[in-house]
Point group: C2
Chain length 346, copies 2
Amino acid sequence: MISELRKDPISGRWIIIAPERRQRPDEYACPRPENEASSATGCPFCPGNEAETPPEVFSRRDPETKADQPGWRVRVVPNKFPALKRGSTAATRTTGLFTAMDGVGAHEVIIDSPAHDKELADLEPSRIHDVFRTYRDRIIHIGSETSCRYVQLFKNKGWEAGATLRHPHTQVVGLPVIPKRVSEDIAAAERHFHETGSCLACRWAREEREARERFLEANDHFLAFHPFASRFPFEIRIQPLRHAALFYETQDDELAALATVVKSLLTSLKIVLNDPPYNFVLHQAPNPEAAAQGRTAESVRAFHWFFEIIPVLTRVAGFEWGTDSFINPMPPEEAARLMREKRGQL
Amino acid sequence: MISELRKDPISGRWIIIAPERRQRPDEYACPRPENEASSATGCPFCPGNEAETPPEVFSRRDPETKADQPGWRVRVVPNKFPALKRGSTAATRTTGLFTAMDGVGAHEVIIDSPAHDKELADLEPSRIHDVFRTYRDRIIHIGSETSCRYVQLFKNKGWEAGATLRHPHTQVVGLPVIPKRVSEDIAAAERHFHETGSCLACRWAREEREARERFLEANDHFLAFHPFASRFPFEIRIQPLRHAALFYETQDDELAALATVVKSLLTSLKIVLNDPPYNFVLHQAPNPEAAAQGRTAESVRAFHWFFEIIPVLTRVAGFEWGTDSFINPMPPEEAARLMREKRGQL
């Protein structure tokens, strides 16, 4: 049964109804499932168990070695329970208020490294660089497919953050629609650009840097801070100094600088928060070809891509679902102070 | 330290930074906290322990009994760790992109019944009616305060759904701003009303009823269905047949009909999903006085209030934070079929 995208008649938000994923054993089990156990035995992402995943679509591996055999540093496979599947772009079907389309797109898993127990934070910077270059490669590849209008890349670390397998990995989803959050962010960037002739995110980063109290760190290419209106305790925003709308515009030396910042921040979070579950989420512009629908490619370029790290320490509950507002018990200024203290001790 | 509302410079979303809530012992503890234990000993919401909460602001109790003593059926107390506190309406402060205001508002807890182990679903319909009449009373009371522009009422049942105390209770928050979700829903209702002269929610309910496959039940005053584009498995929307923008417009006989529907649905969920954690969330229009800001009271009246039940079976993760889209493994048609089957066996 193929999945289906459905448009909410009130919000216009697209929902993916993905019945194949229902077969996952842990689907409705609230207790922590067994596959989160730390044992590497039977882990489909560990070297030697390559046959347990669909055949790889990409890897960085020793030249002597063969596909779907050990010898890889980073390995990319289709998601075994994909939310969306490859196919030609589907037309929307509408009956009254109900609009739907076939669940066409892509859903891949990037296995960060062969090490079952090494988080991104634990890898050498050169290996994180490999992972980030793989992000770029797959975003370019998936983005070039005709059905794809937006590429969403994200990492869920830990069960509470949505991971069902412990072995560190990243997911990439190619969507045939531009998601609500992306449209909203672009509209805000566009508005600010038309009003002021400059980038909202560039200005924000400058103001956070000047205010200092929520600022975390910067190097030649990236900076990071706890946002002024953080929804979650210790939420972090990492953005490139150079204005760019799409992650794939990032150069190799910039990716190396990104690897340094991300390793440093994840290590600090690990120490301050005792190895928390987290989401690591890319926000970027839609594919340039997709932008034509209602927006000029130029106005989409007003958007500034960034990564977000969200430690999962609180629970989204009734208040948040009712309001789309958030109650955050940790002032970002205090989070920054705690992060700075621990970093000073490193 | 008073809490603060902060406006996100990109989305315009208001966030409540509530440092007092940081002191809760479970704040950063991901494992299930001890106070979720089923024992009633030491429960601040149980009869006999009234002194452990702030003094009650309202109750339904035997006429012979005194405030803050046993003898109540429903009891309302200020939240001990409030996200917002009473005060006069605060002005916003802006520096560059950063806008904030004092955390003025209200945050109360409605203790549904004296019974520690009886969920809303387990109470007699007449007791649920008492609870809903108390909802109406507190919404009117809080809504009449000058600082309040929107009243958010919600219930978190179970730890995964955000509850920190097991004894069944409901929360009411009076907000000095109109939350993002509410503005968006009203804008959609307004648009549809201007285009068609009719209510979007009334039309939606009619189409769900005609389509039948996601429809759950109806009586003289309310109907319930799994929404076409459900974000979550077994998500339920309950709405009044009579068009009304605000919950407090509901009459006593309508509240009795609502009690019947809610009891029936919660009981079915309990059986089908083995007593799941859930959020029970009210969506309504802002206070009529607040509507003046940028909208006519009449256009706000295009909104149709409703309740949402969200069983917590999946986890919100990186994909959702990146896109504000949701992957739902359970087609609402199949959820409705499962609900119908179990209800047939009752």
